[in-house]
């Protein structure tokens, strides 16, 4: 299928359109909110919350017998919130480290959730319940009302971010300081945590408990690589998240039997990988290149300064010297010499080298500069 045909299909096919829109909006919301989790170094938070939501889903089904995804989501929301705020309680009241508290809640709730699921599985109505879709996610079950709900939450989230932007920023950067200015940091913190829980719960049906945290972290981690501004980071994370949704859906729709959630997560991970390697300021590739370039420059400068030392003792600066003497100098290499020739700093005839006028000038500049620094 060509790209044009696929785009046409998205517009004409109800299911495909619903899934594409749903995953795009979901990706945008989790991307935005994920920025906050990433900057607070709470990378486990998403995992803990999504796992904590599982028993809520199971309990909601047991109590109401409902298959309606909204009822189950409310269950998920409640137990996700309990989990999230329990974690906060543990870290402030006791002196357990945050990751310990996260790990504790994660395994406690998830264990309980799995227990309930196996219990449900033994019941006669187990097959219709379809609760396992919350484990691995099943984007195909998205309906239009789900997308509306996601869009509503996305809109609300943008509004809250715009409203409390400066409060969020100062909380993230310097919580203690924010408190001395009179801000209720507990409230801001609770607000952002609640939204993270909400976004995660909304994504469970599509991506599932297990992979949901990647949706929170990956777009934000990728976005961080490209910018040094919080606003741009949040925006980019939303764009990356939405793109992961759209591309992931496209790939899984055109390749038979690939489930959507994991593909979306894979696409998001590719963004992360790409960003970590290719970002101009923070990427590994350019860091490496800069390092090599700096090192080469330094070697050349050192060689040139060394030559200047030798030449200094002669009246005639262009007096030729044997290349052999350069071997005494550790930074010297044939390649370096060639570069100096290319730059027209040095002339070589046979086995003899000499500094050019230009090279002498450059070297004396370098030399004097070094003297000053010492």
């Amino acid at each position: 299928m060509g790209i044009i045909e696929y785009i046409e299909l998205v517009f004409s096919d109800y299911t495909l359109r619903t899934i594409t829109l749903g995953t795009a909006v979901l990706g945008a919301v989790t991307g935005m909110l994920g920025s906050f989790a990433v900057l607070r170094k709470q990378s486990l938070l998403g995992d803990a919350i999504s796992h904590a939501a599982l028993p809520g889903i199971a309990l909601a089904f047991l109590f109401t017998g409902a298959k309606d995804s909204n009822v189950l989501l409310i269950g998920a929301l409640i137990s996700g919130l309990i989990g999230a705020f329990w974690i906060r309680g543990i870290t402030t009241k006791t002196h357990l480290k945050a990751d310990t508290a996260l790990g504790l809640i994660l395994s406690l709730f998830f264990g309980f959730g799995i227990l309930l699921l196996t219990f449900i599985q033994k019941r006669p109505d187990a097959n219709q319940a379809g609760l396992d879709k919350y484990l691995f996610g099943q984007a195909a079950t998205l309906v239009e009302s789900d997308v509306w709900l996601m869009a509503f939450v996305a809109g609300l989230c943008v509004l809250v971010l715009l409203f409390f932007w400066k409060e969020f920023k100062i909380l993230l950067f310097d919580k203690d300081y924010a408190q001395t200015l009179g801000f209720n940091t507990k409230f801001i913190d609770a607000l952002i945590t609640s939204f993270i829980v909400l976004a995660i719960v909304l994504g469970l049906q599509t991506v599932g408990v297990i992979l949901m945290s990647a949706m929170l972290l990956a777009p934000a981690a990728a976005a961080r690589q490209w910018t040094n501004s919080l606003g741009v980071m949040v925006f980019l994370a939303a764009v990356f998240g939405a793109s992961a949704g759209v591309f992931g859906t496209a790939i899984s729709a055109t390749q038979n039997n690939l489930s959507t959630g994991p593909v979306i997560v894979l696409v998001a991970s590719v963004f992360v990988l790409f960003s970590f390697v290719f970002s101009p300021s923070r990427g590994l590739l350019f860091k490496r290149i800069r390092l090599i370039r700096n090192r080469n420059d330094l070697e050349l400068q050192k060689t040139l300064t060394f030559m200047y030392h030798i030449v200094q003792d002669h009246e005639d600066i262009s007096h030729p010297h044997a290349i052999k003497i350069l071997n005494n100098f550790r930074g010297y290499s044939r390649k370096g010499l060639k570069k100096l020739i290319d730059k027209n700093y040095v002339k070589v005839e046979g086995e003899m080298w000499s500094l050019t006028e230009e090279g002498f000038l450059r070297a004396s500049n370098l030399y004097n500069q070094n003297e000053k620094d010492d």
Binding site: L39, K166, K169, L172, D176, L181, F183
Partner: protein, 244 residues
């Protein structure tokens, strides 16, 4: 010297069970430039955080100009220890200094032209104006320290609490900072500074508090900054011999 700027009564703070500061009584007169000295782990940061309400004490009370801290927030500015924040945070020096205006703005309102102008002035004062658009991770330690100082200056408070503002700064920056602190004192402000370099205490400060879990002594530098108190605080025989 008239009013008492900060009054601390029986303040005790514990993170776990063991109190890290014990029964602290302090009266800081308005208009002094005071050093808080004590070994690592003595509870200096803890004391400041408890005064500022960041930590909840298990006992004791704090008043600022005779009233509880909560109602006096606008009079107090804080420079945290530099290592307490993540300097890789995606923001610029200017933006950090602008945070100093957030308290006056209150909830939701965004900083406008007036606030931005104040932030620029503060950056200029600490000699960091040309770095205003720098990402904060690309500042040196001393520059980061000056950004923090500028952020507190923006608050235009009456009392300044500074946790090791001289940490990791070179001689030039140290002079810049101390001149600003002396200027604040001249303007009648009260400045409380956690300080590690005992040699410079007599030169920089006029008031000093010795702290090591308990308060050892507090008062004018010329009266109490002596080998006896230093030995009591640091536990080893100290010979700083105050330079007169």
């Amino acid at each position: 010297m008239g009013r008492i700027a900060v009054k601390v009564d029986d303040l005790t703070v514990a993170y776990n069970y063991k109190p890290v500061i014990w029964d602290i009584d302090l009266q800081i007169p308005e208009g002094v430039l005071m050093a808080v000295v004590g070994p690592n782990g003595a509870g200096k940061s803890t004391l400041i955080k408890a005064i500022l309400g960041i930590l909840k004490p298990i006992a004791g009370s704090v008043t600022i100009f005779g009233k509880p801290y909560k109602s006096q927030r606008k009079h107090v500015a804080y420079v945290p220890q530099k290592g307490s924040v993540d300097w890789d945070f995606p923001t610029t020096a200017f933006d950090v200094v602008l945070m100093g205006t957030y308290g006056d703005l209150g909830w939701i309102k965004r900083p406008g032209l007036k606030e931005k102008k104040r932030a620029l002035e503060a950056l200029e004062k600490v000699g960091m104006l040309s770095f205003k658009d720098r990402q904060i991770s690309q500042l040196s330690g001393g520059q980061q320290q000056r950004v923090f100082l500028a952020r507190a200056l923006v608050q235009n408070a009456s009392i300044y609490f500074m946790d090791e503002p001289f940490q990791g700064v070179d001689a030039t920056t140290e002079v810049t900072i101390i001149n600003i602190l002396k200027e604040l004192r001249k303007a009648g402000k009260t400045v409380i500074v956690v300080h590690h370099d005992l040699q410079t205490v007599p030169e920089y400060f006029d008031w000093v508090t010795f702290l090591n879990v308990k308060k050892i002594a507090t008062g004018p530098v010329k009266d109490i900054f002596n080998d006896d108190n230093l030995t009591k605080t640091y536990g080893i025989n100290y010979k700083v011999s105050v330079q007169k």
